[in-house]
């Protein structure tokens, strides 16, 4: 099955977020017929993971880099995110209480909730050389 892979490496800064999203959108253009919502779901999950790496993973360290690899096949859209910061395993948070009042709302935890809601599989590995988060969206 034909498969496209595209890789980009950028500094772990918030300015890289739109460039990572653009990279994924460009990779998706190689495959006709990918539905817009599936692409959005992956953009959202990747954006949240990269934001966590930038703001928490590299906290207190010299800014490093993030390597993003996109694989598009007929069955799945797979994004592998590698970084060299602190280990930061994504753990599924509780579902937000949709009935909570405005005063009770907490904005924390929504990012990881979106990651787990938007893709089908999340694999995380950490080793002394770095961390890898693999997000799989079945098509």
């Amino acid at each position: 099955m034909a498969e496209t892979q595209r890789q980009i490496t950028l500094p772990a800064e918030l300015e890289a977020l739109p460039l990572f999203r653009e990279h994924i959108k460009n990779a998706c253009q190689d495959k006709a017929g990918l539905d817009a919502q599936s692409i959005y779901d992956v953009l959202l999950a990747v954006d949240e993971i990269c934001t966590n790496i930038i703001t928490h993973g590299y906290a207190g360290m010299d800014p490093g880099s993030i390597i993003l690899n996109v694989e598009v096949s007929a069955q799945a859209l797979i994004v592998t995110i590698s970084d060299f910061g602190h280990a930061f395993e994504p753990v599924e948070p509780p579902t937000p209480n949709a009935n909570a009042s405005l005063e009770e709302r907490e904005a924390g935890g929504l990012g990881l909730f979106f990651v787990f809601s938007s893709v089908d599989e999340i694999n995380y590995e950490s080793s002394p050389v770095g961390n890898t988060t693999r997000l799989i969206k079945n098509l």
Binding site: L17, Y40, D47, T51, N97, A107, G111, F114
Partner: protein
Amino acid sequence: MEISITKGTVDIISVNGSVDALTSPELVKVLNDHIHNGHPNIVVDFEKVEFMSSAGLRAILASVKEARTAGGDFRLAAPQPSIEKVLKMAGFHNIVKIYPTVSEAIASFG
């Protein structure tokens, strides 16, 4: 992200582009400055927002609280389907009034 303000009976704040961790601080600042300048009732036009992450939801939450504390309200207009899905996933449709068009959002203020 670009933000423009249209003055009227209710001011419309139009957002164009992406609301993410990079851009959301600017959005919060513009919205809250506007609210504190004597305009607690605002319609935020999201028609041209193509991407929003949880950082954008934090911005909305902060400004809705700010507007209501100032005696007004923040009402959202014309979000694209993917953005509306994000709002619903987080249960924000229960705390923020969302309208399909800007004119309906303005009319809702009566």
